[in-house]
């Protein structure tokens, strides 16, 4: 498209929604495994699930929900043409993302410190269902963490564009799409949190 530059915001959003479907299905594979193994090892899952720290999980849920709120507010702000507010709100989202990852880091380190990680001697000696639970836990939350990092990178890039003024009240579909991605990160966590921390 060299000389007839055209913008199709509806198309851009349609494409983003399709991409979000693929992300949901990516995690869907892990949730299928969770369902099958929960059915097979209900007792072991319940024991292992209680070893997770509900406080860490709850705080992280609140942090992530807040970050999503900031992101949604940033969309409104950019549409009103408030560049400073948009940047501040995006900064808030990124700050929350950082807090989330730091908490995750402490949570994982504590677990690893207690000898709970895939292939550890403690898990190898324990019941098989427990090893499956923690492998799923690490892979699912790890993959989610990767998505937090990717989402953070996308929002940083968008923030840079807002700062430069190339993303503004007139042209902001990139911010809307970036925010959609961020809500996905949030949404996946909304499923991970009860499945691993609460219901077991």
């Amino acid at each position: 498209m060299s000389h007839s530059e055209h913008k199709d915001n509806v198309g851009a959003k349609l494409g983003m929604w399709l991409f979000l479907f693929t992300e949901l299905l990516l995690f869907g594979g892990l949730f299928i495994l969770y369902a099958v193994y929960l059915e097979r090892y209900p007792h072991e899952f319940s024991l292992a699930g209680r070893e997770l720290n509900v406080v860490f999980g709850t705080v992280n849920t609140v942090v992530l929900l807040t970050s999503s709120l900031f992101a949604a507010m940033a969309v409104t702000a950019v549409k009103r043409g408030e560049r400073g507010t948009t940047l501040a709100l995006l900064g808030g989202t990124l700050g929350c993302a950082a807090i989330f990852l730091v908490i995750k880091y402490f949570e994982w380190s504590a677990k690893i410190h207690h000898g709970i990680f895939p292939g550890s001697s403690r898990l190898l000696a324990g019941a098989p269902g427990e090893s499956v639970f923690f492998s799923l836990y690490y892979i699912t939350t790890g993959l989610h963490g990767v998505h937090v990092v990717i989402g953070g990178a996308i929002l940083s890039w968008i923030g840079a564009r807002v700062k430069r003024g190339t993303l503004n009240a007139g042209d902001n579909v990139a911010l809307e799409n970036g925010t959609l991605y961020w809500h996905l990160v949030d949404l996946v966590w909304i499923f991970i949190f009860p499945l691993y921390y609460l219901i077991l």
């Binding site: 060299s2 199709d8 494409g15 495994l33 892979i139």
Partner: protein
Amino acid sequence: MSVADNGRPVAAGFWGDTGKSGIRSWIFSTDHKRIGLLYLYSVLGFFLVGVILGLLLRIELMAPGRTIMGAQTYNAVFTVHGVVMIFLFIIPGIPASFGNLVMPIQIGARDVAFPKLNLFSWWLYAIGAVIVLTSLFSGGGAPDTGWTFYVPFSARTGTNVSLAVFGVFVLGFSSILTGINFITTIHRLRAKGMGWGRLPLFVWSLYATAWVQVLATPIIAITLVLVIAERVLGAGLFDPGRGGDPIMFQHLFWIYSHPAVYIMILPAMGVVSEIIPVFSRKPIFGYKMIAISSIAIAGAGSLVWGHHMYTSGMSDRAVMVFSFLTFLVAIPSAIKVFNWVSTLYKGSISLEAPMLFALSFILLFSIGGLSGLVLGAAATDVHVHDTHFVVGHFHYVMFGGTGFAFFGAAHYWLPKYYGRRYREKPALVGWALMFVGFNITYFTMQVLGIRGMPRRYYDYLPEFANLNLVATVGSWILALGLIIMIVNLWRGLFWGEPFGENPWGGATLEWTIATPPPTENFEEDPVVTHGPYDFKKGVGIP
């Protein structure tokens, strides 16, 4: 638009100056036609690699015992043959090459919805391919698991499975992005008057394919990540010793990989639906049913993965459900075949090269489809599971089906894009040799399978020797036909007779524009006033 008869270059069109020089005007181009050709050459290159590996396999199996390679090499060669043919040739094959070349023009668009993303998809394809190729020569050597990467072997083998699997992961990402791009394009960029009921059937098939790409590929992505986790972290999710279940790997693998065969075959059916009416000089019979059956195949085909697992130890009830659903897929497939045949009925059939490939598609796909029912029925499948019958079956649908449609598309559309055409006679000779060689090779394999010869075995009992020899000789005839066809195409497209705007008499939009198409396809946005197979009303731009 100067068309010279003396063999000098035909007018430029999209081949003309782009402001970038040499190779950069291709590998950094966002023009869907240039990206389509990039894909075409990439997939053809890998196809030839796969062909050579396949020929080597046939030579090894020509006689019992060692013929030209050791057992470990044989394992690696059949694995790499499968990985290259499936992930590097046939999945991106028709949609990414001819889909890119043709689809935007057929719907009256100047490009796809996301041209930069389109280029990025090709780059991901190229990067994924390089990673897969690197895995062959690094680490513990070429993977020896078969293209299915089944655990527990893939979790334990010392060969370089992790890198190969990661390469396939990247290729999957490329496929997803193409799917997203095509769905958005078909929804958003249709020209005025191009309603869903006037969409060429090739576009309908790409639309169904794109949905499968978007909805199924993420599952293989996560499955491959889990294989890497098994190998690198020792996650144990598929390891029975640690509470895991290897059958879960098979489920997750086939949740993608069965729908993936529809990513391979649906666009091929679309190509055939374009060629048959044009060379019968008759509107397609049952347009609506063919369009709907594409969607039905995509939908029902996503629910039948378990028919790869009848002997895996899955529950008998699941086997029955999957068997029933598998038979359902035969219905929309048969609808297509009957509609194509009805289109031919009382048509004014012209047996030129594209038509020969399309007609052989119908025959070969029918044989492959019917042998598929033998495998879909649990009672018979148990006897021929993992035999050469399966190898024959999927080569009938994949090579006899998609492969022949791919070459039909090449003979049908490429002259339009190059402005020159191939010679008809060598094309016929090439086709005839391929057709004969193909049937000798793969029909023999089906017979071998029925008689009990397992697939993926390095050695076999002496009673299979004669038929194996026949299959190997058949593969040479097939290869000879391929060489003739490719050389003829190559010479024709670069040095052949000029090709006019619409020599075939097609009624879809790509035949209404100049040859080769200009950079942005249409001088003015077209307004569509008739259906894609409405030959009486002629061209689409008023």
